[in-house]
């Protein structure tokens, strides 16, 4: 198993994702003999070894089952243990596109944080690119390194404990793209520029606050960056449910006539033009007149019956709808992107 290539069967030391329900996932490293407790019961690691990813596993204790899934950066993002606020897939996908990343790209990022974005970047630049990741928190750096190794992607990333605001990146002209997720990205623009390859490249900065964005844009412009664009994207999640709205009780529907069946002409003047044309049509078809009159009579009867009972003749609204949740993720941050073509 690795985050950059799929494998079919679960093996010892694999990191797996247990799927319990929508956005309800957990992760662990498989070790024979261990057991993981879930709300549906226990999952024995030994039961997983040799099984195919995607299999349903019944939990010990019989309260239910879970699915074992192969890890991907997207699943990792919603499962990983947060050590810092993380960036979610909606922004990650936009960052990857805006930085023009593909296999072979070289990227610099700061800070590493919990590694949510890092896993996605590595997935995109594999098998021959490289990620240089910096964070000033020693423990986070250690944890990230460990995770990258466990996930089979350690060879594609170099994590360094460094305060890039003070000390810069220490890399000159090697990157195709730079990503900044820092409290003061504007202090790092000059240094970040130096990491970009000589012909130029792309830069992206993620900031929750508009003041940070303003300062960053100004600094970028001053350093020779062009095509500076700030965007925001927010995802809306729909759930699909059959919605039944009962018909409102607005009283009985006005029936067409209350006269005896067969006698239609007298009432034409009191009817709406629409019904009039219908009636005329009926009259012209000699065969069907009596029939329809009969059926009309029947409907009248039914109507009056219904009146008596107080029921409606309409069935209400019954159809599949997309339901939006009551509350949803709103603003995460602004993404500012820019290009550099000349030094």
């Amino acid at each position: 198993m690795s985050f950059i290539s799929y494998s079919e069967k679960i093996r010892e030391k694999d990191t797996v994702i247990l799927y319990l329900g929508l956005d309800d996932t957990l992760t662990f490293k498989v070790k024979a003999g261990n057991t993981h407790q879930t709300k549906y019961g226990a999952v024995r690691h030994s039961d997983l070894i040799g099984k195919r990813y995607g299999t349903k596993v019944t939990c010990v204790g019989g309260k239910g089952w879970v699915h074992v899934l192969h890890p991907t950066p997207e699943l990792w993002t919603i499962t990983l243990p947060h050590r810092t606020q993380i960036i979610y897939s909606i922004d990650i996908s936009m960052i990857t596109l805006q930085l023009d990343l593909k296999p072979g790209s070289v990227v610099c990022e700061s800070g590493t944080g919990s590694g949510s974005l890092s896993h996605a970047l590595i997935r995109t630049i594999a098998p021959n690119g490289h990620l240089y990741s910096f964070d000033y928190h020693n423990q986070r750096v250690e944890k990230a390194r460990q995770e990258f190794d466990d996930h089979g992607i350690g060879h594609l990333v170099t994590v360094e404990c460094r305060d890039v605001c003070k000390d810069g990146f220490g890399l000159d002209h090697i990157a195709d793209a730079v990503f900044l997720d820092l409290p003061c990205p504007y202090d790092v623009i000059e240094a970040a520029k130096r990491t970009l390859k000589a012909p130029g490249g792309r830069m992206c900065s993620f900031s929750p606050c508009i003041e940070q964005v303003q300062k960053t844009c100004e600094k970028m412009s001053g350093c020779g960056f062009v095509e500076i664009t700030t965007i925001e994207c927010i995802a809306r999640n729909y759930d699909v449910k059959t919605v039944q709205l009962p018909a409102p009780d607005m009283g009985p529907v006005e029936t067409e006539t209350r006269t005896q069946p067969g006698i239609n002409s007298n009432d034409i003047s009191s009817e709406t033009p629409e019904k009039e044309t219908n009636k005329r049509k009926l009259d012209s078809e000699s065969d069907s007149v009596t029939e329809t009159s009969d059926s009309a009579c029947k409907t009248k009867k039914v109507d009056s019956e219904q009146e008596v009972k107080g029921h409606k003749s309409l069935s209400g609204f019954n159809s599949k709808c997309g339901i939006l949740p009551k509350e949803t993720t709103g603003h995460t941050g602004f993404l500012t992107v820019a290009s550099l073509y000349t030094f």
Binding site: H70, P103, P199
Partner: protein
């Protein structure tokens, strides 16, 4: 990487003027059109991407770094003029349109021209400094014909196609493309199954992320896939090898197989002469039934077609030799083209043109029969086409796909339900649709199948901001919709 940043002849390039992006091929002496100005791109071949060029009479001239004017967004003001006395009645500018054109003709350009226009504006001085900046910016955009030359990337191509021809790409917005690539876990060395109606734009984006490694099979509608958008990506021939095609109208005949890998099957198809003879013998059998062109849709043809289809299906299941199944499928595939059937080695008529000729010959019973003679070039093409089709079929029927992506103008539900079987368990699928309602049915059917988990329908709200000192606000217009995505993960059938 530096050499890839030089413009080569034949490259597709993007001309950027303001927000306008135009895709063009850099060919010598070939004129391109940017905002109704026509010019050749010869001067920029061999130069760097990212450079700016000024459009002169019929050609272009490079704008050097020091000549570049700044964007002019640096105004800072404590004094604020306003528009209380400004009346918009078109009398403010003293220079008429003709006069400006005359100035341009005389050679005045760039900053000087703008200065002239500003000087001759009666109301300019009264304006707020920010308004003045905006005014100058607008005049520059109108009168200075300068563009930047850029290397096409997925981001630029998606933005361009969305801005200009979005119905041709089923209104797919670039952030939705970004999400398809991320949620589908598109990476190098994967096996992807794609149905798209984006003239190849989504294919290109996926291939770009695969970096030339892996396999991508496209199910296309009609006789041949439309892939005009692929040109813009400048993929090498080597890179294009990841792409395979298979007609959507044969999708229902696909059955997932276990056993033979595509590499094993590839070997049995190899010896070309053997295949040709097989085909000829099959053709001769079929000939009595096919007197006229296949696509005339005569009764005989249809029956024959139906027969061969069922034969091929049973053959497929018993894994009979590929050659036989090839020829039957070829017949079906060819039914849409007007290449006809029989070859008779005895008849070797040399003709100068490439047209298949209808030759009346005397048959055994003295009756005049008509024969079609197929020429070697065309035959070679058909052979190649058949081989590719078979290879694609083998690849699909092997299954083990890592992602299923659908972004089509057709109803998504039948495609998802059929193609899901070729996806491995614990792999994502992504279905895009312009409207949300068709996805409801997919969602329900998939939920009932109990073969998928983590299903979501999402839509993205995307907004751009203007960030300027004291003038930061979201843009006044934004994209209405980027379409909807249904995503999920396939699991083992329970």
């Amino acid at each position: 990487m530096s050499d890839t940043l030089k413009i080569k002849e034949g490259d597709y390039v993007i001309l950027k003027k303001g927000k306008n992006l135009v895709l063009a091929q850099a060919l010598c002496k070939r004129k391109v059109n940017l905002e109704r100005k026509y010019f050749v791109l010869d001067p920029l071949i061999g130069d760097n991407y990212g450079t700016s060029w000024e459009i002169t009479k019929r050609s272009i001239k490079k704008v050097e770094e020091d000549q570049k004017s700044d964007d002019g967004d640096t105004a800072e003001s404590t004094e604020v003029g306003d528009n209380r006395n400004i009346v918009d009645d078109n009398t403010a500018q003293k220079l008429s349109h003709d006069e400006i054109l005359a100035l341009k003709k005389d050679g005045m350009k760039g900053e000087k021209l703008i200065e002239q226009i500003v000087e001759n504006s009666a109301t300019f001085k009264e304006k707020n400094v920010y308004t003045q900046e905006k005014y100058i910016k607008k005049k520059k955009a109108k009168h200075l014909p300068i563009f930047t030359i850029l290397k096409p990337t997925t981001r630029l191509l998606c933005s361009m196609y969305h801005a200009k021809t979005s119905p041709k790409i089923v209104l797919l917005r670039y952030d939705t493309v970004a999400q398809i690539l991320a949620l589908g876990n598109v990476h190098a060395n994967m096996k992807a199954l794609v149905v798209e109606s984006c003239t190849g734009l989504l294919l290109g984006a996926i291939m770009d992320r695969m970096g030339g490694l892996g396999t991508l099979v496209q199910l296309f509608n009609g006789d041949a896939p439309t892939r005009t958008a692929l040109d813009g990506f400048n993929f090498s021939e080597e890179h294009m090898k990841v792409l395979h095609s298979f007609p959507l109208n044969q999708a229902n005949s696909l059955r997932i197989k276990t056993g033979k890998t595509s590499s094993e099957i590839g070997q049995t198809v190899e010896p070309l002469p053997a295949v040709t003879e097989e085909e000829k013998s099959c053709d001769e059998e079929a000939r009595p039934c096919k007197k006229q062109k296949i696509d005339s849709g005569s009764e005989n043809d249809n029956q024959q077609g139906a027969k061969t289809l069922s034969t091929s299906e049973t053959e497929g299941q018993s894994e009979v030799s590929i050659e036989q199944t090839c020829t039957n499928k070829d017949r079906i595939a060819d039914s849409n083209s007007d290449v006809a059937m029989a070859t008779d080695t005895k008849e070797s008529i040399q003709v100068s043109n490439n047209m298949d000729v209808d030759v009346p010959i005397e048959g055994d019973d003295g009756q005049l029969k008509r024969k079609w003679i197929v020429y070697p070039e065309r035959q070679a093409r058909r052979e190649k086409k058949r081989k590719e089709l078979d290879a694609a079929r083998c690849i699909i029927e092997e299954g083990n796909f890592d992602v299923l992506i659908i972004a089509s103008r057709f109803e998504p539900c039948p495609m998802v339900m059929k193609l899901l079987e070729f996806l491995s368990p614990s792999r994502p699928f992504v279905v895009y649709c312009q409207c949300i309602e068709p996805l409801y049915e997919c969602f329900s059917k998939l939920r009932e199948s109990r073969e998928v988990v983590n299903m979501k329908i999402t839509e993205t709200w995307l907004r751009e901001y203007q960030v300027l000192p004291a003038r930061t606000h979201p843009m006044n217009t934004m994209s209405g919709s980027g379409g909807y995505l249904l995503t999920g993960i396939k699991v083992a059938k329970t």
